[in-house]
Amino acid sequence: MKHSADVLIVGAGIVGAACASELAKAGLRVTILEERFISAGATGAAMGHIVVMDDSEAQFSLTHYSETLWEELHEELPAKIEFDRCGTIWVAVDDEEMAEVGRKCDFYRARGVHAEILDPQSLHDAEPHLRAPLAGGLLVPGDSVIYPPAAASFLLEKAIELGASLDTGKAVISLEKGIARLADGTTLSAGRLINAAGQFSGKLTPGIRVKPRKGHLVITDRYPGTVRHQLVELGYLKSAHSSTDDSVAFNVQPRPTGQLLIGSSRQYDIEHDEVEPAILSRMLERTFEYLPALASYSGIRVWTGFRPATPDKLPLIGPWPEDPTLYIATGHEGLGITTSLATGKLICSHILAEAPAISAEPYLPSRQRVAEAHV
């Protein structure tokens, strides 16, 4: 049977786009199927922070590798992507958090990532609008911010230039054994299938353990020059790692327009995308604790999004054990923008049976099957 394509990718978010771009570069015929429109899911709601993380070796490895890929790509990125290497400052409020800053700094430096400890004065000089006094912070100058929908579009355009095709408005109801069955009744076949459906990936591949994790964001009107770096509290990881509770963490990004993007909140088990005043309130309250001036800034929009989250906080990147045609590229939680490029490379390595640049083992989807078998 002649296949419609070499690879069918479900999901035109940034992960699907990165996979498409890499596979098309490798000379494969790629078709991307998208139910709504480019970056209609988490990519369209996301903060666009490209950040190297230290919560585990595997997380560091993936984010660092991917950040390097963004660096290599950045000169090619069109202006609409608004790439800005503004750096991240992890903000410490007390001695305990400063100890964490020290540990973090050592971790990054030992692995070749430039990091600089800021004392209270240096922190204030770097970010005058932060409440004073704070205990200090960690500056990671190599981190960046982008506008994710434009990045996803760009990667898809690159793939299309190399022969890929994108079909929007196509809902896929089953994806297995080389066949994608669409809601309109048609079927497509391919040598390889990729589930990059983000928050919907669990519906498409039963057995994937990915839960949507709701987040709220606020964007302000233009206040150029008020915040210069992406600012994140050290408690962020506590919030990101909680498996059950609703949580908020201070996380503010300066957009090149001068607008401030305010996050972050996390909730499990909420299906509706409505703005929820209680958690929005908590998130803003947390924000004002660090940046009191923001209380009087004009907030022009509030929205929500759903991060695809896995139980062990690492994404699923690689072959699905029971189906030799199926690959999974999902579960990136709050790091999808950062790790999209690395995901594309790893998926490509898997499909072409080439050695990946970093170990692919920690992200193998099969680990979820193993965990189940042991229950």
Binding site: V218, P277, F288, I300
Partner: protein
């Protein structure tokens, strides 16, 4: 941390235009504790805006007197940005107001429809109602040359008003063809008072030619408006002027209704004959239920006010008056339908989104309002799509479907204070 003191009312009315004033007055007269909340410095909305000038509408004085004499609590300068399940929040210049209500009446009125054409972003190109609002707010136009354009009965009203303020109205450019307007005038024969009103308005602006099948195609600057090019039955000519007052009739302000979950069909909030929306306890009166003008707004406002206060007998007595006025709604829609040429005036580099400077060409690449917002940034600015989105609905057939709080930009501290069922507000001020 701020705590918001919330005042309780039986009926909260949002919007102090004719419909809202009528609703609040009747609710209060029927024994309900009523609040009337509006973002302008004083009640009156657009059509009864006072400012530095005198009244033209005799009814305005009458209703505003009744409002003053009533026990309605008027909250002026307060912009409602969130409402949900018995609680709403409104922001004023320096504080946050919280209101608890049993019944809610949306009388949020309408705004003008603006369509893009080359040069439309120049200073001194305004809406027709827009220029009138500014003159009412103190802008002198004596001796200024004004071209009035667009569509709808508002153009005649604005022409009359500006003429009386000694502006030189050079012409009134109505895009509708003469045949459509004549048909409308014949329909109005059943409403003689409307014909008289129209004739009076025309008399007051009689020196300005009233041109049909005419619309602006370009405005020239460079720093502010100097001249306008109009297409008159296909012939293009240039007119030097100081102001272009151009608006393509009205679009209802549906944001709050949508955010509350009220069903909206074909651009109007669905209501029963007692002005009830699909959301229990939420009523809607005036332009958001269908653009129908002043008289209908006053009738619907009264019906909603009576109904929300439980005075159903009084509400029902007004039903036939409403029915009669609704015929005018249908006739107006037909008469002032927008011709397709108006969708072709913008060039690819003409701006569509003025807040973010997004071009018509960039926006049009997308297949939906949501995709256009995300990828071109059209509608991502503070107007939240009120200008560009409404234009896009006509230009591309999109729908601005969703509406989330805040329905106006507000201070982040105000956002923090919005209420939810899980976050019950403290009640103060008496009634349950």
């Amino acid at each position: 941390m701020d705590s918001v003191v919330r005042r309780s009312f039986d009926v909260a009315v949002i919007g102090a235009g004719p419909a809202g004033i009528a609703a609040a007055v009747r609710a209060s007269e029927s024994g309900a504790r009523a609040a009337l909340i509006d973002d302008n410095p004083a009640p009156g909305g657009q059509i009864w805006r006072r400012g530095a000038s005198r009244w033209h509408h005799p009814q305005a004085g009458h209703w505003l007197d009744r409002l003053r004499e009533s026990s309605v609590t008027v909250m002026a300068g307060a912009r409602v940005f969130h409402a949900h399940n018995g609680a709403l929040e409104a922001e004023s210049d320096h504080s946050l107001l919280g209101v608890l209500y049993n019944k809610l009446i949306l009388a949020t009125g309408a705004r003008e429809l603006f369509l893009p054409f080359p040069g439309w972003t120049l200073p001194n190109v305004l809406g027709a109602g827009g220029l009138q609002a500014l003159v009412k707010s103190g802008l002198p136009v004596n001796g200024k040359r004004v071209v009035i354009a667009g569509t709808g009965p508002l153009l005649l009203a604005v022409a009359a008003y500006l003429s009386e303020h000694d502006a030189e109205v050079l012409c009134i450019c109505e895009q509708a063809p003469f045949s459509q307007l004549r048909a409308f005038a014949l329909t109005l024969a059943a409403f003689p008072e409307k014909l008289v009103e129209a004739a009076q308005l025309r008399f007051r602006s009689r020196r300005a030619p009233y041109l049909t099948s005419t619309w602006p195609v370009a405005a020239f600057g460079p720093d502010r408006l100097r001249s306008v090019q109009v297409s008159d039955h296909g012939c293009v000519r240039e007119i030097e002027c100081d102001y272009l007052a151009c608006g393509y009739h009205l679009v209802p302000n549906l944001e709050l209704a949508r955010a509350l979950g009220c069903r909206v069909t074909e651009g109007s909030v669905e209501v029963t004959e007692l002005q009830e929306t699909s959301e229990p306890g939420v009523y809607c009166a005036g332009e958001p239920t269908g653009i129908g003008g002043l008289d209908l707004s006053i009738v619907e406002g009264q019906i909603a006010g009576y109904a929300a206060a439980g005075a159903l007998h009084s509400a029902r007595r007004l039903l036939s008056t409403g029915a009669r006025s609704r015929k005018v709604v249908r006739a107006m829609k037909k008469a002032f339908a927008l011709r397709p040429e108006l969708a072709t005036l913008a060039k690819p580099d003409t701006l569509l989104c003025r807040c973010e400077d997004v071009s018509f060409g960039d926006a049009r690449k997308h297949s939906s309002w949501r995709a256009a917002k995300l990828h071109s940034r059209c509608g991502m600015g503070p107007c939240q799509g009120r200008v560009c989105g409404s234009a896009a609905e006509f230009l591309f057939g999109w729908t601005m479907d969703s509406s989330r709080p805040p329905i106006f930009p507000v201070r982040c501290s105000s956002l923090r204070a919005i209420s939810s069922p899980a976050n019950p507000a403290q009640r103060h001020g008496g009634s349950p």
